[in-house]
Symmetry: C2
Subunit: 344 residues, 2 copies
DNA sequence: TTGAAAGCGCTAACAG
DNA sequence: CTGTTAGCGCTTTCAA
């Protein structure tokens, strides 16, 4: 149950003064005499007074809550972003209320409704992989409720967003593969309607182009972002008559799934097939062989998203700033240089 | 900014009735005439009325917020537990406010204070590895503020808690190693004052005992729960004159760190050294070789913790129920049977 | 069957 | 320099 917290009224009664005097004294209002101020502050300190956020919220019409919607809370990728958001939010005296859409559009819509009921002051969102229309977010925009997207964004809505430069990253990977002797570079992508899939595809194509490689549509497969589906996609690639000699996956899960599957089918990494993914530092180094990957600046992405949020909450005006974070390619064993194959 | 939400007052004005009538109608109060009730509910629906939780909270003195403190938010272990807590919380109409202590006692203390300021109604906590006194939690208990521990608990406080049966798990691992031909079984433990370290040590010793193996104190090393420290601990074991032929680590991080280090030093797993850890399903299967591990029922642990929380919030009485969750040993390659060594 | 009023904790305009 | 009052949105007792 918890004992009732101390209130201004309690302090006022104890000192025989009015509530407003106490209120003012605690804010060092110049109207209050120094003696009185000191006396009141001392008592407040002693009684451990802290203002009731509910009362303040009611008065000011603000809950100091931000609704955060992510596709999945159980991956390092998102939890790290959330940490970044949280840090900035805390600095501003805000909470975040985290909800997972579980990659489901339906759940995402419900999440928006529920968070709205809870009177969050705005939203920071990464779209679910299923989300292909945006009515539920359009409504927020119409009502001038602050909204910021990160990673998977909806460009049309014209809201601020923060992205990682996946296009650049995939180009780098592609060229890196080529430079290490790969000619048939395959790419396991995510759902086509997601901006991250699209951007990364562009980078892939540009990369091929710059290397003078032809685009073979068989070498680009899509999958939803589950392990199972990623394994199937890998199998598909491995069944090609003209097999790939390099594969990269569009995220953590896919990269690992591909690795499992490639090894299972008896191919050597990187001798037979080079591998790369989008993952974080730690797990890339634990797998065998250590995985070449582009490291997403996740924490920073969260920070930037939160900063954008506070900008739009403060200005009150909607801006549509777009922050693009650089991504680094970290080369490890899984994409080491191919040795010249013996002549048959 | 967001347009103001609709209020009872708005509805009342629009219909030319009093606020209390509207309030009652929305609760189907029998005093209100059916016509009126219907009319009011229809308008509320149309205007998308939802009650203001701030106002309700102020009235009822409840924030519907639970403070959750974990040592680290960025691991699958905790994020999965958090998911479990969240699910149950949501069912009860509660939010959780997550704070990470970053394994620091100081931050943990601050977290408690801050959450208290925010008027959370109670706490669900996993102790930081540094926490060796409990004044900050004792204060909560004294003030009858609901508190539930999970995984790393403080027994003395007499608050409800949920644990995994680490003692049983370590016994099983030890025996499993022995049955597969290991004789010098090493154990990398966490900080000694943590209950999980203590329990698992007991299981380890019992296991050795049941196998008729002597306890060699050189084979049990402690480390704080960082990767670096775990690697050092592993090195220590590998430098022993009489080396271990099996190692298990007390958590995810340690198990992986040990794996990296063992491989780095050129030992084969499991031929030279068998390995096992406490980890979740996915990562255990991605590493090479796949890691034998005890799978923590993390999601369930979160659910149970939240259930205990609501029990204690509802009853108002503090109970000290203790829930012990079973742990399963999942055998994989990293601890496969040793082949008989050739006679030298 | 409905309305008026008090109160949850707080601030701010207005009086004194 | 300090107190009174109204009001944020809601429920609930008391009155009508």
């Amino acid at each position: 149950m918890g004992k009732r917290h101390i209130s201004l009224k309690d302090l006022a009664k104890e000192l025989g003064v009015s509530i407003s005097t106490v209120s003012r004294a605690l804010k060092n209002h110049p109207d209050i005499s120094p003696d009185m101020t000191e006396k009141i502050q001392a008592l407040a300190e002693e009684r451990n007074y802290t203002p009731n956020p509910l009362a303040m919220g009611l008065l000011r019409q603000q809950t100091k809550m931000i609704g955060v919607i992510v596709p999945d809370i159980n991956t390092h990728f998102y939890s790290s972003i959330i940490s970044g958001i949280e840090k900035v939010a805390e600095d501003h005296g805000y909470f975040i209320v985290i909800t997972s859409s579980n990659e489901s559009k339906k759940k995402e819509i419900i999440a928006v409704q529920n968070l709205l009921k809870s009177r969050v002051e705005g939203f920071i969102v990464c779209l679910s992989q299923e989300t292909d229309d945006f009515a539920h977010f359009q409504k927020l925009v119409n009502n001038e409720i602050p909204l910021v997207f990160f990673d998977r964004v909806c460009e049309e809505l014209g809201v601020p967003s923060v992205l990682a430069n996946g296009q650049d990253a995939t180009k780098k990977i592609t060229k890196h593969f080529f430079e290490n002797g790969c000619k048939r570079i395959a790419y396991i992508s995510g759902p086509e309607h997601l901006n991250i899939s699209q951007n990364r595809k562009v980078g892939y194509l540009n990369g091929l182009n710059e290397c003078g490689l032809e685009y073979d549509e068989n070498l680009m497969v899509h999958c939803n972002l589950s392990i199972e589906d990623a394994k199937l996609a890998t199998q598909e690639l491995l069944q090609l008559e003209n097999k790939p000699d390099a594969i990269f996956g569009v995220n953590d899960t896919i990269a690992f799934a591909a690795m499992i599957e490639v090894k299972k089918q008896g191919y050597k990494i990187p001798e037979d097939i080079s591998l790369a993914g989008f993952t974080d530092e730690f797990h890339s180094t634990v797998v065998d062989p250590p995985l070449t990957s582009v490291s997403h600046p996740t924490f920073q992405m969260g920070e930037e998203a939160a900063k954008l949020f506070f900008e739009s909450i403060e200005k009150g005006k909607s801006n549509n700033k777009r922050i693009m974070l650089p991504i680094d390619l970290v080369v490890r064993e899984s994409s080491a240089k191919k040795k010249a194959k013996p002549f048959i």
